[in-house]
């Protein structure tokens, strides 16, 4: 890891994620041929994330808010290494545990117990390491006998409990959470936030996407606001929420000076 990012857990520079949106993508060879000969190929390029730069120091809890389709999840997927960005640079220092959408890296036909192993192996842990943690993961998830039932029969809350337990119990350096805490019940959510607090105390970095602004204000040190792929605000959570809601910011001295009397 380069020296420039010493002390940073995540460095994102001029990040662009461009998607080619093909209108009625040819799904079959027949369509492909017919289009090829008619030379029609309808698409437009669209930047889900456009020119975003920020750094996250180690140990920070960073919230990301924004409307649907503003690029929050895309950003998290790039940081988690699922997408390779079109342009720009991402450097991530340490092991990332992604909790992106429900059932991150779980297979419906396998039981909860088998998924603990699969999930851990996918994140690069060994079988031995996972077996050592298995009992703790099961205890934290509190899903009882369902641990030996295929996860396709789980409720979304059970899914989330298991995924959260795995991701936090493997002790990653960076935890990336996309919107999944919302499905947990109140007692479990409290448990999750306790755990996140302990995570933060031990110097781990957390990225949290949420539509629950209370959660963001409660747990984050800093918050980004995404707007149509661009970073529109980067600063204190309370202010970020105000920007997101379209409320006027508490006017700063700088703005007072520059605004007409």
């Amino acid at each position: 890891m380069s020296e420039r990012i010493a002390g940073s857990a995540i460095v994102v520079e001029n990040l662009v994620q461009r998607f080619r949106v093909i209108h009625e993508r040819p799904d079959t060879v027949r369509e492909l041929f017919s289009r090829f000969f008619r030379k029609e190929y309808n698409y437009h390029d669209f930047d889900a994330v456009h020119n975003v730069s920020f750094r996250v120091p180690k140990g920070q809890v960073l919230g990301i808010i924004g409307r649907n389709g503003s690029g929050k999840s895309t950003l998290l997927k790039i940081i988690a290494g699922v997408y390779r960005p079109t342009l720009g640079r991402v450097e991530v220092c340490g092991q990332v545990a992604p909790l992106i959408e429900l059932g991150a890296g779980m297979h419906g036909e396998l039981t909860g117990r088998e998924n603990i192993l699969l999930n851990g192996l996918m994140m690069g842990y060994s079988k031995k390491q996972m077996l050592e943690r298995e009992q703790k993961i099961i205890e934290f998830a509190e899903i009882g006998d369902f641990i030996d039932v295929p996860v396709k029969q789980y409720s979304s809350g059970m899914y989330m409990r298991l995924a959260f337990s795995v991701a936090t119990e493997i002790d990653p350096d960076i935890l990336v959470i996309d919107e999944i805490l919302a499905v947990g019940d109140a007692p479990f959510q409290d448990k999750c936030f306790d755990r996140l607090a302990r995570f933060r105390e031990s110097g781990k970095t957390i990225l949290l996407v949420s539509h629950s602004l209370d959660q963001i204000e409660k747990v984050c040190d800093r918050c980004l606001v995404m707007d149509r792929g661009r970073l529109s605000f980067d600063g204190r959570p309370a202010e970020a929420i105000a920007v997101y809601k379209g409320e006027p910011l508490l006017t700063t001295a700088h703005e007072l000076a520059s605004s007409p009397a």
Binding site: D27, L32, V82, P98, I100, G103, H107, E109, L117
Partner: protein
């Protein structure tokens, strides 16, 4: 290429877990479970030997052994391809949410079919004993064609797994290709049945060299010529280099298409 070996080694536990997952899903909710891997070749043998030795009167003694010695490796090849073609698309849920080396999926498809193949060799041994066919010493040579077949199969699976991400027709085209290949390759018949006029065509069929190694060792008790063994490995490595090359070039894009 080095990347292929490094990653396969690095992710060996994941590949193994995925391979077992596939087997588990294949045999799930079946009463006999893994026994099907043994029963399938036996039942197939029964059908084919009745058809070919009593109805079609094939002039080949111990036809079941003649057939199975090649049919079992062929099944490994064909099933691996069918599974691998769907391996990236079928694991979309995993690929979209976790960063993972994509090659584990086709490799796991091959490994799970390899397990199936090795299990299916047990009934072959039983059949050889039951029919009192001589147990040739050349059986010890079997790992050689098996290695060539595995390399060849891996190469082909990488290609089809990648191609199917972009065009889902590939999985269907593959079935047609496998069907054609099954009949133009001397599997249910002997090379001698091939009209002499077209026999040069056989020389262009890489899978034929590899499969013939199995038949020579198990059925005839002969070893393939050194030249044909070299041909096998040249074809196998060529397939692997091309297939993995294409896969590697496109693997970062898969997540956008699955």
């Amino acid at each position: 290429m080095i990347e292929l070996f490094q990653d396969t080694f690095r992710y060996r536990q994941l590949i193994w877990a995925l391979a077992l997952k596939e087997l588990k899903i294949r045999y799930k909710r079946s009463v006999l479970g893994f026994l099907w891997a043994l029963l399938n070749p036996m039942l197939l043998m029964l059908v084919l030997s009745v058809v070919f030795s009593t109805i079609m009167l094939a002039p080949i003694p111990h036809y079941a052994i003649f057939l199975l010695s090649v049919l079992l490796p062929w099944t490994f090849f064909a099933q691996s391809l069918s599974y691998a073609a769907e391996s990236i698309v079928g694991n979309a849920d995993l690929i979209k949410k976790v960063r993972v080396a994509k090659l584990v999926f086709p490799v796991a498809a091959v490994v799970s079919n390899m397990i199936n193949f090795l299990l299916s060799m047990i009934p072959l041994v039983l059949i050889v004993l039951a029919m009192r066919h001589p147990f040739h010493w050349t059986w010890i040579f079997l790992p050689v064609p098996l290695l060539a077949l595995t390399i060849f199969t891996l190469g082909a699976t990488f290609f089809f797994a990648a191609a199917n991400v972009y065009y889902r027709d590939v999985a269907h085209i593959l079935q047609v290709l496998l069907n054609v290949l099954f009949y133009v390759t001397p599997i249910i018949y002997s090379i001698d049945f091939f009209p002499a006029k077209y026999r040069w065509l056989l020389k262009l069929n890489p899978i034929q060299y590899i499969l013939n190694g199995f038949r020579l060792s198990v059925y005839y008790g002969l070893l393939p010529s050194a030249a044909s063994v070299v041909a096998c490995f040249v074809c196998a490595f060529a397939m692997l280099i091309v297939g993995f090359g294409i896969f590697k070039k496109h693997q970062d894009e898969f997540v956008f298409y699955v």
